[in-house]
Amino acid sequence: MIETWGLGKTFGPPPWPLGLVVPSARRPVRALHDVTLRLDQGEIVGLLGPNGAGKTTLLRILATLVLPSEGRVRVNEADIVRDSASVRRAVGLAAGQERGFYWRLTGMENLEFFAGLLGLSGAQARRRAAEALSAMDLEDHAHQTVERYSAGMRQRLGIARALLGKPRVLLLDEPTRSMDQNAAVRTHGIIRRLATESGVTVLLATHQPSEAAALCRRVAILVNGAVRDVIPTPAPEGGLTERYRSAVGA
C-alpha cells in the first residue's frame, strides 16, 4: 500500500557552507507539488506524464532515494522518512536505467550480490537469484556477463533485481522502454500476476497511454509536478489518450 498526502519536492540550493563547494542549481526547482495518492494492496496504478513531469522523482521518493520537502508518505504502513529501513525492505525499484549493474559480472552474479545485501545466505541468495532470473526469462543468459546483454535484457534484469526481496510494493520506471514486443507482453503478464496472485502494489511510470491502459486499474496524470487527473480503467485507449492530451495541453 502507498499513501501520500500533500507530497511536494523542491530542489533548492544546498545550505551554507555547502553551496560554496557543491555544484547545484541557483534557483529552486519545484519537481512535485501537493501530490495526494492512495494505492491499495494488489492495485496497479499508472503514472502518466511527459518528460520532466516528476514521475521519476515521485518513484525515487517512494524508494527512499530522495527526501520530500513537504507532505507525508507511507509505504506499506511505514513512514518513508522516519522508518526508511522498513520501507526499503518492502519496496522493489526497477529504475529503467542501463547503468546500475556490474558489467563484468554475470547476470546471476549480479543478482546473487544484491540478494546477499538483503541478508540472505549464499545458498539462499543463489536460489532467489535463479528464481528472479527465471521469472524474467533470463535463465538462459544467467551466466553471461552483463556487458553482453542487450538493453532490453538489462531492463529485464533490473526488474528481476527488484523482485529479489519479494517486495510488497513494486516501483517501475518505464519498465518496457527498451524491450521488444514479446518481452514487453511477458513483462506485463508478470506484473499482473504479482498484483493479483501475490497482492503486490505496483506503481508504474510510463510515457505510453497504451501501456498504462493495458495494465493499470487507475492512471494518474502528472504534469509539472502535480496530479492533473486520475482516470479509472478499463477505459477505451482512445479515451485515456484524449484525456491525457487534454491534461498536458497537447
Binding site: K9, F11, P14, L18, V21, V22, P23, S24, A31, T57, R60, A63, T64, L65, V66, L67, A85, R88, R89, V91, L93, A95, Q97, R99, G100, F101, Y102, W103, R104, L105, E109, E112, F113, F114, A115, G116, L117, L118, G119, L120, S121, G122, A125, R161, G165
Partner: protein
C-alpha cells in the same frame, strides 16, 4: 548473521571483479617484491651506530622502515578504501541500487571497502614475510599479540577517517579529497621513513596529533622489541581516544552527507 551475509556478498562480488581484472590485482601484490629490496638496500646506507634516533627501535634502519612502509601502506589503504569504493559505485551507477537495499549506508560503505582493506593487509604482511625470509628482518614473537591489538585499533581509526572522506565524496561527487591529504601529512609527520625525533620541535609536537605516529611507534616496539600490551598502554590509549572521537564523528558525518544527497536528489549522480 545477516550482517555477515552482507559482508560475504561484498567480498564475493569484489573477489569476482578482481578475478576479472587479474593483471591489476597481481600487480598490487607484485609491487611489494620490488619495494622490499629497495628498502633493504636503502637500509644498508644507514649503519645502526650512526643514528641514536633508531636506538629505541633496535637500531636497524631496514627493520624500522619496512614496518613503517608496511603499516603505512595498509593503514593508508584502509583510509582510502571506503571513499574509493563509494566513488566507484557512483561512477558506474550502482550506488542507488546498493543503497535501496535494507543494508544500512554504514554497512554498505564498510562492506564495499572490505576487499581492498584485506588486500592492503596482505600487502603489509607480505612486506614483513619477505623481510623475514629474504632480508633477515627479526620479528619478536612476544609482541605479536600486542601488535595484532594495536593493528585492530589503528584499522578502526583509519576506517573512521575513511568514512569521513566518504562523506565528502557523497556530498561533493568528486574524487576523494581528504585521504590523500591525511596520508601525505601522516607520511611527513607520522614517522614512516624516519623517527619523529628527527623532526624540529614544533613538528614533533604536531606529530603527536597524528594517529599514525602512535600506531607506528607501538607496532615497532611490539614487533622489533617484543613489547607486550601493558608496555604499550600509553600508545594504545591514545589510539583508542582517536577512535572514540573519530568513530562517532565519522558515523554522523556519513549519515548527514547521505541525508544532504537525498535532499538534493544527487545520491546516484556523479
Amino acid at each position: 548473521m545477516v550482517l555477515l551475509h552482507r559482508f560475504a556478498a561484498f567480498l564475493k562480488r569484489d573477489y569476482l571483479l578482481a578475478r576479472a581484472s587479474r593483471l591489476a590485482f597481481g600487480w598490487q601484490l607484485l609491487s611489494v617484491f620490488f619495494a622490499a629490496p629497495i628498502l633493504f638496500y636503502m637500509g644498508r646506507l644507514i649503519q645502526p651506530a650512526t643514528s641514536r634516533h633508531l636506538a629505541p627501535f633496535g637500531g636497524d634502519y631496514f627493520a624500522f622502515v619496512t614496518i613503517g612502509v608496511a603499516v603505512f601502506g595498509f593503514l593508508a589503504a584502509t583510509m582510502a578504501a571506503p571513499a574509493a569504493a563509494i566513488r566507484h559505485e557512483q561512477m558506474i551507477g550502482t550506488l542507488e541500487a546498493v543503497l535501496i537495499t535494507p543494508a544500512s549506508p554504514h554497512v554498505v560503505v564498510l562492506g564495499a571497502s572490505l576487499w581492498n582493506i584485506i588486500v592492503a593487509i596482505l600487502q603489509g604482511a607480505l612486506y614483513l614475510v619477505l623481510g623475514v625470509l629474504i632480508f633477515g628482518l627479526e620479528i619478536r614473537g612476544t609482541g605479536l599479540l600486542a601488535a595484532a591489538l594495536v593493528s585492530l585499533v589503528a584499522v578502526g581509526t583509519f576506517a573512521a577517517l575513511g568514512m569521513l572522506s566518504t562523506a565528502l565524496v557523497v556530498i561533493l561527487r568528486h574524487g576523494d579529497p581528504l585521504s590523500g591529504l591525511i596520508a601525505a601529512g601522516s607520511a611527513l609527520l607520522g614517522g614512516v621513513f624516519y623517527p619523529t625525533t628527527v623532526l624540529p620541535q614544533p613538528l614533533q609536537r604536531l606529530s603527536e596529533f597524528v594517529p599514525l605516529t602512535h600506531a607506528l611507534r607501538a607496532l615497532r616496539l611490539a614487533l622489533l622489541q617484543g613489547h607486550g600490551v601493558s608496555a604499550l598502554q600509553e600508545e594504545l590509549s591514545i589510539l583508542l581516544l582517536f577512535l572514540g572521537v573519530l568513530g562517532p564523528l565519522a558515523t554522523f558525518a556519513l549519515w548527514w552527507a547521505i541525508r544532504q544527497a537525498k535532499t538534493a536528489g544527487t545520491l546516484g549522480a556523479y
